[in-house]
């Protein structure tokens, strides 16, 4: 087995779920090396190792420099020195896309994006990408001898420890970045949100255009809170500025797979369905009986969200 490289991400010493998901798949495919930008690789080496990473190669503190140009240049230099891996896996995250994009230029190699499954059965790794709202899967593989780069969507694999020893921490040199490295992060702002995170919640309640106006989103938040869940949104109302981008569920937002997903006033554009059709159970309330969302629900209520949701909130409050 060759070597599989995984981009590791972490916040405050906690490895991101997407990284652990990638590790679960990567260790089936080869010997896993993690690449990391940050000064706390020692703090995450045990967790990375427990999930199958043999080593973690770290740039150390970048002094506010963005991860994209630094890790892309470091990875390209490592490959140029003759240590090319079988494949490099990135999560579809803010930094993951930056690094993969810049690296693809450095290697003059394409990226296979939006991958939900990787198949290494016949020697060459094949990526599976859903299109048309997840109704069709496209299987793509690389031609030629370039290093394969995959951008994998969150929740594609299940994170599971393999009880390996702590990953060995190794230093990773960052070459001179020139102008590409001149963007600097000055401050980090954490927006406190109550309740569980959207992509980790057991219950997600999402609102869409059917709510009619921005103020009505409050009842989505209320319902999510009442059920101990997280509020989400369709792209339509994010684009309309009702709620921030971080609420967006769908192809261009977050992929969620909660136990229960409740779609309120969402018709079910393909862009939305891709992000939530993996939910264990789906409930939808929409006044249009022809809404595509009803084709994938476990329980569909053809009705007015402005009537059904307030009554639902009342009933829950009375319990």
């Amino acid at each position: 087995m060759g070597s599989i490289w995984v981009h590791a991400e972490a916040t405050d010493g906690t490895v991101a779920s997407i990284t652990l998901e990638l590790l679960a798949k990567a260790r089936e495919l080869g010997e896993v090396k993690c690449f990391y930008a940050g000064s706390d690789a020692d703090a995450i080496a045990a967790e990375l190792g427990a999930h199958g990473a043999v080593t973690v190669h770290t740039t150390g503190d970048l002094g506010g420099g963005l991860h994209g140009p630094a890790l892309a240049a470091a990875l390209a230099a490592t490959i140029d020195s003759g240590a090319a891996p079988e494949a490099i896996l990135f999560g579809t995250t803010y930094d993951g896309r930056d690094i993969a994009g810049r690296l693809s230029v450095k290697l003059d190699a394409p990226v296979i994006t939006n991958v939900v499954e990787l198949d290494g059965a016949d020697g060459a790794l094949t990526g599976v990408e859903p299109v048309f709202g997840g109704t069709t899967n496209v299987h793509t593989r690389f031609t030629g001898a370039k290093t394969p780069i995959f951008l994998v969507r969150p929740k594609s694999f299940t994170a599971e420890p393999s009880d390996g020893p702590a990953a060995g921490v190794e230093a990773l040199d960052v070459p001179d970045l020139g102008a590409t490295g001149t963007a600097v992060m000055l401050n980090r702002h954490v927006e406190e949100s109550e309740g569980p995170k959207l992509d980790e919640a057991a219950v997600v309640v999402s609102g869409g255009r059917g709510l009619g106006e921005a103020d009505k989103y409050a009842m989505i938040e209320e319902l999510a809170a009442a059920l101990g869940g997280a509020p989400g949104a369709s792209r339509a109302i994010v684009d309309a500025g009702w709620v921030p981008y971080s609420y967006q569920v769908g192809q261009t937002g977050k992929v969620v797979k909660p136990d229960v997903y409740i779609a309120c006033g969402i018709s079910g554009a393909t862009q939305h369905m891709v992000g939530m059709k993996g939910s264990k159970t789906i409930i939808a309330v929409n006044k249009d009986p022809e809404a595509p969302i009803f084709s994938i629900v476990d329980l569909g209520i053809v009705g007015d969200v402005h009537k059904v949701i307030p009554k639902l909130l009342e009933t829950l409050a009375a319990r």
């Binding site: 916040t11 963005l66 994209g68 140009p69 892309a72 803010y94 896309r97 930056d98 993969a100 994009g101 693809s104 230029v105 450095k106 003059d108 190699a109 394409p110 990226v111 994006t113 859903p130 299109v131 109704t135 069709t136 496209v138 299987h139 793509t140 593989r141 030629g144 951008l151 020139g178 102008a179 590409t180 001149t182 600097v184 992060m185 000055l186 702002h189 927006e191 219950v203 059920l227 994010v238 684009d239 309309a240 500025g241 921030p244 981008y245 261009t252 136990d259 229960v260 393909t270 409930i283 994938i296 329980l299 569909g300 053809v302 009537k307 059904v308 009554k311 639902l312 009933t315 829950l316």
Partner: protein
């Protein structure tokens, strides 16, 4: 300040087309429109140019058959001009090839700031902004929710998992704009009329010094080996609300032991 905005003209998402099983290309013989994701970059560029007290907003687009419908929409919003790259050799071009074409086309404008969407609504690879920046040898800040320009620098609030980062970056730079952060203006009648006579620089890849082998299917370096139907999700019970819809939901949630 000269701002270039990358815009994609796409089939109406309400009618996304199909993949031709023979050629493995997306069939898009419908009329193309301006990708809604790009309208935010156009609006942001217009606002930044206004705040800077002048400067042109130029559009850069790659499209088959010299398609201009979507470009006209952005010109009607207020962009001054456009570079449109069309070439038969571009059929099947992937994200990296697209970035190569856009980077070369930028040479005809020489922008101080390049704005893009975070990803297109039809291809959604989300890699083009970083690829474009790397090809141009520029810094980039992706997922901007707020942009300010001053003292030869761009200040960006960059979306993160937990909130946002404040990022500062010297110009020239590439910034990708998150949807929904500004309200794209509707083209006025005057704008629509004016757009008809705004200059569109129509070029082929030879004009940009790009080798046909670097783009299109040949330049892709990847191949589709299979297209299969995904396992369908069975539809469950769909009922009309007769004043008891909320009770059905409560009963179902109890069954699921959420309540």
């Amino acid at each position: 300040m000269n701002i270039a905005v990358c815009v994609k003209q796409i089939p109406d998402p309400a009618d996304p087309g199909t993949i031709d099983p023979e050629t493995k290309t997306l069939q898009r013989d419908v009329k193309l429109i301006l990708d809604e994701s790009d309208s935010y970059g156009v609006e942001m560029a217009l606002q930044l140019a206004e705040q800077a007290g002048g400067g042109d907003v130029a559009l850069v687009s790659m499209a088959p058959n010299n398609e201009m419908n979507g470009l006209r929409t952005a010109l009607a919003m207020g962009a001054a001009s456009a570079v449109l790259v069309s070439d038969e050799a571009l059929a099947g071009t992937d994200a990296l090839g697209t970035a190569k074409v856009l980077a070369a086309a930028m040479g005809r404008i020489g922008p101080d700031l390049v704005l893009t969407a975070t990803e297109s609504s039809d291809g959604y690879t989300g890699t083009v902004p970083a690829q474009l920046a790397e090809l141009m040898g520029l810094p980039s800040v992706t997922f901007a929710k707020e942009i300010g320009v001053g003292d030869g620098k761009v200040h960006v609030k960059r979306q993160t998992e937990a909130g946002y980062d404040e990022v500062e970056c010297p110009l020239p730079a590439v910034v990708s704009v998150t949807a929904g952060v500004v309200e794209p203006r509707y083209p006025s009648f005057k704008g629509i009329m004016a757009a008809k006579s705004k200059p569109v620089d129509e070029v082929g890849i030879a004009d940009l010094g790009i080798d046909a082998a670097a783009v299109g299917w040949a330049g892709g370096g990847q191949e589709i080996v299979d297209i299969v139907a995904a396992p369908a999700r069975e539809a469950g019970e769909v009922v009309e609300d007769e004043g008891d819809g909320h009770e059905r939901i409560v009963a179902f949630l109890e069954e699921l032991k959420v309540l």
